[in-house]
Structure formats: structure tokens, C-alpha cells
């Protein structure tokens, strides 16, 4: 049981730290969910890729460093500590890429990975539908076989597609066998968002951004080349993604350590006179530390080959609640001025922005209610009971 880094790991972290110190933009970029911000964030992905820091855990041939899990976590810590921008390529890198590595064809990997790594192609997920949110197996959008053109014709509607307003390509599940029920008969497709028959409608969020979109499919043709995995096997393929999204990959501890440190700094500057808030700051710090150490323990077990399975659900419950409480405490420290999101406000108004963002945490990537079901049933082994089916 130790927390010692090898000299190689220390060198890796130091190299990342130095590069980030040199390259992270001094000014916060505009929100990536705005037209201007999207461009700026895409440019940042290119910069990252030039330094070969965009996909450290990928093989070198696709722009990575073949880095192991420990290095990846170290990089994430350094990344957020440096205050580096949010990753606009995130959905592609963490949701789609693992699937391409596991289930994609050689040709698909060649076509898509390098451009994903350098920001040339930004990917949007197209999972949910109206009526199929957390219950993904209720998907009704269809894929109709077109033998003549050697491909499929997509119809239907997807929703809550992050980044889709400005992204280049999408990926998602469609019902390719109309006879099959629930999670059978689904197929995983890749498609350009400017394909004929696709309409993307932005959805404004509570925080004023337009991170979400609806995507309407009206006879959209996708060639066989862009089916990921076998036709009909989409559920199994997608579920490894869902595990990923909820698991280690989306939320390395760096983000929360950085937020807890911003909170500490704010408290030292603003909160020293209100001792009633001390405990909340301390608890946020404890939470971030717990998350950091939990992650290192998970990394060690993953390296030992443990099947982490449903543990991602614990992870998601913990970080989503920690994130809300860090930002609620931050706003409390700001007192009467907390309400302002003006750039002239404390820390450029980001406490409000980040609070509103945090509020979405318990909802997306599987609501926390679903996560608690998973923990109760798969980890604690409590009986399933009356619910008929669940992802």
C-alpha cells in the first residue's frame, strides 16, 4: 500500500506540468457551448495534439503516448491544476474512442482516430430520445436496411446531444430490427452531422448556453462502413461506453481537486470572517481528497486486472454530489454578491456558471437514482424487485 510515484511517473508529470504552464491560455476561453468558444476550444485541441497531450493513453500511431493508467490520472491532475480549458473533444475521446479500439474495424480507426485526437473532427453523442432518457433500451429511432446501396437509412429523433450544434460527426444507437424488443435489435452508427436529411436544433440550457441539441433524422443514409460492431449488436457495444462514461474516464479527480482548491482559495480570501462556512469548505476538501485516493485505489485494482463493473456508479454518485456542494459553498462564501455572473464578479463570475453546470451532474450520464439502483443491486446484491428491466 503506497502512494509513491516512480521516477518515470514523476518525470512524466513534470513534463506535462511544464508544457501546460507554457501553453494554457492565460484568459479563460469563452464557453465551448457558444459559436466563438467552440472554435477556440477546437483550436486548443489542436494545440494539445501538437504537444502530444490530447490523448495520452492512446497508441502513438494515433497521436497518443501509450501512457498507462497512472500517467493518465497524473496528466488529468496536472491538466485541471493548470486551469486548462474544458475538453470539447471529450465525448469522442472518452465515449467513442474506446469503442473504436475494441469494436471498430482497422479502416474505421484509420479514418477517425487521428482527426479526433487533433480536433479536426469533433464528435457528438446521440443516445437519448424523447421517451428514452435514462431508459436507453426504449429507443425508437430506426435504421432500415438498404441492400442496394449497401447501407442503412436512419429515421427518428435524438435529444440531449452535447456539442451537436457545432460538432462534425455523431454516433448513436438505432433500432435496426423493428421486431426486436428493448435492447435487442439495435445497431451502432457513425454519421456526419451535415449529412443530407439531418437537422440539428439547438436547445438552450438553464445556464444560458446551448450545449444540447436535438438531431432529427429524415432518411439519412449511412454506408456499412460506418456501422460500429455488428448490426444488431449495438446495445452490447454501447454499454461498454456507458460504463466508461460513468466510470473512471469521464471524471478523473483533477477536476474536483482543482475546484476544491479554487474553493479553498476563495475562502482564504473571502470567508475568513464567517466561521460557520469553515466546515463546508473543510468537507469539500475532504471530499476531493477522498475522491483522489479512491481513484488511486481504483487504478491499482484496475492494473491488477480487477473487474470494476458497477463501481463507476459509486464514482458518479460521489463526484456529482461533491461538485454541487463545492459550488454551493463557493456561492455561500460570496455572500450577497453570489448572484452575479458578470465577468467583473469574483473569479469572473464562474462560481455561478460552474454551479449551474454542477446542477446537471446528478441528472446526466444516468440519473443518480439509476446509479443508486445499480449500487444496491449489483454491488450490495439487494433484490431487483418490481422494476421490469433496467439498463
Amino acid at each position: 500500500m503506497n502512494l509513491d510515484l516512480t521516477p518515470e511517473h514523476e518525470t512524466f508529470a513534470a513534463e506535462a506540468r511544464a508544457w501546460l504552464a507554457e501553453n494554457v491560455p492565460a484568459q479563460r476561453l469563452p464557453s465551448m457551448d457558444s459559436a466563438e468558444g467552440f472554435v477556440a476550444h477546437r483550436q486548443w485541441e489542436a494545440t494539445l495534439a501538437e504537444g502530444r497531450w490530447s490523448v495520452v493513453s492512446w497508441p502513438e500511431q494515433f497521436g497518443g503516448r501509450d501512457a498507462g493508467l497512472v500517467e493518465w490520472v497524473l496528466f488529468e491532475e496536472e491538466y485541471y491544476r493548470a486551469g486548462a480549458p474544458t475538453r470539447v473533444a471529450q465525448n469522442g475521446i472518452s465515449l467513442l474512442a474506446p469503442i473504436l479500439f475494441d469494436h471498430g474495424t482497422e479502416s474505421q480507426r484509420e479514418r477517425y482516430l487521428a482527426d479526433m485526437a487533433n480536433g479536426t473532427t469533433i464528435w457528438a453523442q446521440a443516445w437519448s430520445e424523447p421517451g428514452a432518457g435514462s431508459d436507453l433500451a426504449a429507443i425508437r429511432s430506426t435504421a432500415r436496411r438498404d441492400e442496394g446501396r449497401q447501407g442503412w437509412v436512419l429515421n427518428g429523433q435524438k435529444i440531449w446531444s452535447s456539442r451537436a450544434v457545432w460538432a462534425d460527426r455523431g454516433f448513436g444507437l438505432f433500432r435496426s430490427d423493428p421486431e426486436a424488443q428493448r435492447h435487442r435489435g439495435l445497431t451502432y452508427f457513425l454519421f456526419p452531422l451535415d449529412a443530407e436529411g439531418i437537422t440539428v436544433r439547438p436547445i438552450a440550457q438553464l445556464d444560458g448556453e446551448t450545449g444540447f441539441a436535438e438531431i432529427f433524422f429524415d432518411d439519412v443514409f449511412v454506408p456499412d462502413d460506418d456501422v460500429l460492431g455488428a448490426p444488431g449488436d449495438g446495445w452490447r457495444v454501447a454499454m461498454s461506453t456507458a460504463g466508461n462514461e460513468r466510470g473512471l474516464s469521464l471524471r478523473a479527480p483533477g477536476r474536483f481537486l482543482a475546484a476544491a482548491e479554487r474553493l479553498r482559495s476563495l475562502w482564504v480570501r473571502e470567508g475568513a470572517n464567517d466561521p460557520a462556512l469553515d466546515d463546508a469548505v473543510v468537507d469539500a476538501w475532504i471530499g476531493a481528497e477522498a475522491y483522489r485516493l479512491f481513484t488511486w485505489n481504483t487504478v491499482a485494482r484496475a492494473l491488477d486486472g480487477a473487474d470494476l463493473g458497477a463501481e463507476g456508479s459509486m464514482n458518479k454518485l460521489f463526484w456529482s454530489e461533491l461538485d454541487v456542494s463545492i459550488h454551493e459553498t463557493g456561492l455561500s462564501l460570496l455572500g450577497a454578491r453570489a448572484e452575479s455572473r458578470s465577468t467583473a464578479a469574483v473569479d469572473g463570475g464562474r462560481w455561478v456558471d460552474d454551479y449551474l453546470f454542477a446542477l446537471a451532474g446528478p441528472i446526466y450520464a444516468g440519473t443518480n437514482e439509476i446509479q443508486r439502483n445499480i449500487v444496491a443491486e449489483r454491488i450490495l446484491g439487494l433484490p431487483r424487485g418490481e422494476r421490469r428491466e433496467r439498463s
Binding site: S128, G131, G133, S134, D135, A138, I159, W160, I203, A204, Q205, L206, G208, F212, D274, A276, L277, L331, S332, G335, A336, R337, A338, E339, S340, R341, S342, A344, A345, G349, V352, Y355, L356, L359, A360, P362, I363, Y364, T367, N368, E369, R372, R387, R388, E389, R390
Partner: protein, 318 residues
């Protein structure tokens, strides 16, 4: 001892509900959030005709001479409908501070706003107000509009104002005005919480997941039950503080009401968001009007920390 709203209170609440429905209901705050304040201003004018803006102005000054109890009944309805505009400033705060000719104008429906540092550092919605003030501990002044800041709430514009020539004023009256404004905010929060709960309960009854309405799932049920309990126990504090507002225990009662209303309304907001899922997080759905207004008003007119500290001082001195 008859601690229950009177028939007159019920009638006042219903009159407000009807007027707001007539002005478009949820379209009023929705329009306001998008910068279209026309229906909000029409609503203001109709509520002024009802007597709302003169509720706390004496009959001699052309108002209704109503009680704090009337005031909280009204603000609970305003909160339920997310009525936009500087009602707290015009109706609950300024009448205790400004001279009678201005009170009379407010009673007639002139829109007034003010800053009142430290608890209300901006003059909210000054850009649509006819009269703009700044109030200190023992003075008030006409003020001019400075820079504008975006609020956490879609319904509030935060306007920095510069006070002009200061007029001395009774600091006790200003302190009372702060208490009444805090209490108005508390009542608004309770109303907002009730609306959030209603929205969540309706949605839970129709939205299905895994083949069943989500309102059948015990976890959401229990979260909603906890909201019901929190609101049901916050409301008597608001009404009780209205009854005792002028007593020496008034300030602590106001603080208790503001804290409890904020806790209950925040819980309602979090739960309603959780019940709605992603749809509730969109700007297109009206839920967000309340979800963002609640933390803004919980912060304004005395943060929870401020009010808890005031109660602690009172309890320690007892």
C-alpha cells in the same frame, strides 16, 4: 388565537392568481427572461390597480393600509407565478423609507427599485423602473443607473447604481424595511417552492421510464414527500413572522422564516430538477425560471449565513 389565513387573505391570493393568469401566466416571466418586459409591466399595472403596490402604504397616502400578513399572502402568490420585477423593493421595502409623496406614487403603480447595501447591493431591474434609489443604514438617495450585471436568475437584472444627494432617514425604519423585504423574499420563496413541487408532482405522474410513471418509484416519491414537509413547516414561520413583525422578536422570526423558506425552496428546486431530468435543465422549459430564481432570492435580502448569525446573536443574548 386563530393562526390561519382569513377569508380576505384567500380572496387576495385568488385575485392575484386571476390577474396573473389573465396576463399570460408563465408567459409573463418567460417573456421577461427573454428581454420582453411588456406583459410584466402590464401585470404590474393591473396588480397596482388591485392595490398590491400600495398594500403597505397607508390609506392617507393613497394605499391600502394592509398588514404584513396581507403582504406575505401576496408575495407567496407572486413567487408561485415567478412574477418578475422589483416587487420586493417597491412593495415591501421602499414604503418604509421614502417620503409620503413617493409612497403615493408607488401605490399608484409607479415602478420603483433600490439598492440597499450590504444585503441588496444592486438595484434590481432598474432598467425598467421609473424611480431608482439607493438606501444606506441611515439615509436614502435618488440614484443613477451604472453598469448592469447578469444574475444567476433569468428574471433579475443586477444594476449598479450611484446614489445622488443623500437624505437622512430613521435607521430603525430602514432596519424595519430590511426585515419586511427579507420576509417578502421568504414568502416569495415559499410560493416558488410550492410551484416547483406542483410541477414535479405533475410531471412525475405522466413521465414514464422503464414502462411506469416515474411517480411510482419510491425514491422520487420520498424526495417529493420531503419537499412537502419542508415547505409545510416553512410556511408557518413566514406567516408567524408577519404576525410578530413589529415585536422585539420580529427580527429573529423574520430570519428564521427566510432561512427555512430558502432551505425548503432550494430542496424543491433540486428535487424538481431531478424529477424532470434533462428537460428541466433546458431554457425552453419554464422550470428553470424557478430553479434559478430560488437561489438568487435565497441569497438576496440577507444570505442564510447572515440570518442564522442574527438568530445566534439573539439566542445567545436571551
Amino acid at each position: 388565537m386563530r393562526f390561519v389565513p382569513t377569508d380576505e387573505h384567500e380572496a387576495l391570493g385568488e385575485a392575484i392568481d386571476e390577474i396573473i393568469a389573465g396576463c399570460g401566466g408563465v408567459d409573463v416571466p418567460r417573456g421577461w427572461a427573454n428581454g420582453d418586459t411588456a406583459s410584466g409591466r402590464r401585470l404590474w399595472s393591473q396588480l397596482a390597480d388591485l392595490g398590491l403596490t400600495g398594500l403597505r402604504v397607508s390609506e392617507d397616502d393613497g394605499g391600502m393600509g394592509g398588514t404584513p400578513q396581507d403582504m406575505v399572502v401576496a408575495f407567496e402568490r407572486l413567487g408561485y407565478h415567478a412574477a418578475p420585477g422589483p416587487y420586493i423593493e417597491s412593495v415591501a421595502f421602499l414604503p418604509h423609507v421614502v417620503p409620503s409623496d413617493i409612497r403615493a406614487q408607488i401605490a399608484q403603480g409607479v415602478i420603483a427599485t433600490t439598492s440597499a447595501a450590504p444585503h441588496a447591493p444592486w438595484a434590481v431591474d432598474a432598467q425598467i423602473s421609473d424611480l431608482i434609489y439607493a438606501v444606506g443604514d441611515s439615509w436614502w438617495a435618488e440614484a443613477t443607473v451604472g453598469s448592469e450585471e447578469e444574475s444567476l436568475s433569468a428574471l433579475r437584472r443586477l444594476v449598479v447604481v450611484d446614489p445622488g444627494e443623500r437624505t437622512s432617514s430613521d435607521s430603525a425604519a430602514i432596519a424595519f424595511a430590511h426585515d419586511e423585504a427579507s420576509l417578502a423574499a421568504a414568502a416569495y420563496l415559499v410560493g416558488a417552492g410550492e410551484r416547483l413541487l406542483d410541477e414535479a408532482v405533475s410531471y412525475a405522474g405522466v413521465r414514464e421510464q422503464f414502462g411506469r410513471p416515474i411517480g411510482e418509484y419510491q425514491s422520487l416519491k420520498h424526495q417529493l414527500a420531503d419537499v412537502r414537509v419542508a415547505l409545510s413547516f416553512a410556511r408557518p414561520l413566514v406567516h408567524g413572522a408577519a404576525v410578530t413583525l413589529s415585536d422585539h422578536t420580529g427580527p429573529r422570526a423574520v430570519s428564521a422564516a427566510k432561512v427555512a423558506a430558502g432551505v425548503a425552496a432550494r430542496r424543491a428546486a433540486r428535487t424538481a430538477l431531478q424529477v424532470h431530468g434533462a428537460i428541466g435543465y433546458t431554457a425552453e422549459h419554464h422550470l428553470g425560471l424557478w430553479v434559478t430564481q430560488v437561489p438568487a432570492l435565497d441569497t438576496a435580502w440577507g444570505t442564510p449565513a447572515t440570518h442564522r448569525a442574527r438568530i445566534a446573536r439573539a439566542l445567545r443574548a436571551e
